[in-house]
């Protein structure tokens, strides 16, 4: 039997997968490194966030739910920072 929570999980994870897909298409199709970086960073952060959100009701305990959120926050942090670093390396390379 599909409960409301299951429906929520399916919807959130599907939306997350869509963002991953869109980010991958952007990575493959966008013309230069900065736009590719933009596609990747935005889509991955939102995509992973939605997947984590969809998995929250399925977590065994409050602790594993917290771990999911921590994983997402860590990926946000490292993704945003590495996008900054790659962006700066690109800008320096152009000069």
């Amino acid at each position: 039997m599909i409960t409301l929570l299951d429906l929520f999980s399916i919807a959130a994870i599907s939306a997350g997968t869509f963002f991953f897909f869109a980010g991958t298409v952007g990575l493959l199709r966008f013309p230069d490194s900065l736009t590719r970086l933009h596609a990747l960073a935005k889509a991955d952060n939102l995509g992973l966030g939605l997947v984590a959100l969809g998995l929250l009701p399925r977590a065994d305990s409050a602790l594993s739910a917290l771990k999911l959120i921590v994983i997402w926050v860590l990926v946000l942090l490292s993704g945003a920072s590495s996008a900054q670093l790659i962006g700066r390396a690109l800008r320096r390379g152009r000069k």
Binding site: L74, S78, S81, L85, R88
Partner: protein
């Protein structure tokens, strides 16, 4: 065929494809990126083979530390290329190298193909021995590493120290005792500093957790140590701290602490429990945790020193 089996085959094909791509990539940096991707995919393979301990190590070492090491090595090679004239090896030499590489690859492949159906394995015996010797440890992998194969585990750590000694000894005589060159950034860069300040406390906590939980669950000193090493590298890259001088007393003590405590415990086992590296059963867990704690320290000190490279500033 089930969906999961299909995904497994896809994963295996992907690993082979990335491996081939890494070998044929002409650009050094591209090959390193391929190698890191290969390491992360391999970590997934280990997860699928129900070996989370190996997966953690592969992700931390194969994907992380080795990647940084290779990128730094690549940068140094690139800098050298402009100075030294490049001597192209002759055709016969390259043919010989290729033939030798093919021979080694062929021998490994043949050995894998000729494995007997029931491979001779010490694993059941080791697990049985570890469950008695390492009483109190819920994680059989840690128990085997620390009780059944303790000599190998200790020698692995000594190899790490030898590698650091090797890296240090490439430095010039004039620079001896000084600090390795600062990591990459010429001056602090705000996003890097932010990342280091946010990530390092969390990473250190998770590293210590990995070491502590290794007694009962996947994890252990090597995985935790690799994470601590990565955190030290991050704060050095952000220029929040500088690489230490290679003649710093505390650094050398930290490097040898793990194997030294391991060896002392082993010799103490000879006296207290009747054989080399035997632990008195009632004290097995505290002793193992003590050894692992010092190994954690040594690994966390050794890996960044490998990446930092030889000393290159004059002493003083």
């Amino acid at each position: 065929m089930s969906l999961l089996a299909f995904l497994d085959i896809l994963l295996a094909l992907l690993v082979v494809a990335v491996a081939v791509w890494t070998i044929v990539a002409r650009d050094l940096f591209a090959a390193v990126v391929g190698y890191v991707a290969y390491g992360l995919l391999l970590a997934f393979v280990w997860i699928r083979l129900y070996a989370p301990d190996v997966a953690l190590t592969e992700a931390a070492v194969g994907g992380g530390v080795t990647g940084v090491l290779l990128i730094t090595a690549g940068k140094r090679l690139g800098a050298l290329k402009n100075v030294a004239p490049e001597a192209q090896p002759g055709f016969a030499f390259r043919l010989l190298a290729g033939a030798l590489a093919a021979l080694v690859a062929g021998a490994i492949g043949a050995a894998i193909l000729m494995l007997p159906e029931q491979p001779p394995s010490l694993a059941p015996e080791a697990a049985a021995a570890a469950s008695t010797a390492g009483a109190g440890l819920g994680n059989p992998i840690t128990a085997v590493l620390m009780s059944y194969r303790s000599f190998d585990t200790m020698l692995e750590k000594i190899v790490l120290i030898l590698a650091v000694v090797g890296v240090w000894s490439v430095g010039s005589d004039k620079a001896w005792g000084g600090a390795p060159a600062p990591f990459r950034q010429s001056k602090p860069y705000a996003p890097m500093v932010f990342l280091a300040q946010m990530l390092a406390p969390i990473g250190v906590l998770i590293g210590i957790h990995m070491f502590w939980t290794g007694a009962n669950a996947p994890g252990g000193a090597f995985q935790g140590g690799a994470l601590l090493a990565a955190m030290w590298m991050v704060i050095m890259m952000a220029r929040l701290v500088e690489p230490p001088r290679v003649d710093a007393q505390w650094l050398r003590l930290a490097l040898v602490a793990g194997p030294a405590v391991f060896l002392i415990s082993g010799i103490a086992g000879e006296v207290a429990a009747g054989s080399f590296f035997a632990y008195p059963p009632s004290l097995a867990k505290p002793i193992i945790l003590l050894i692992e704690a010092f190994m954690l320290l040594s690994i966390a000190a050794a890996l960044p020193m490998l990446v930092a490279g030889p000393p290159n500033e004059g002493p003083g």
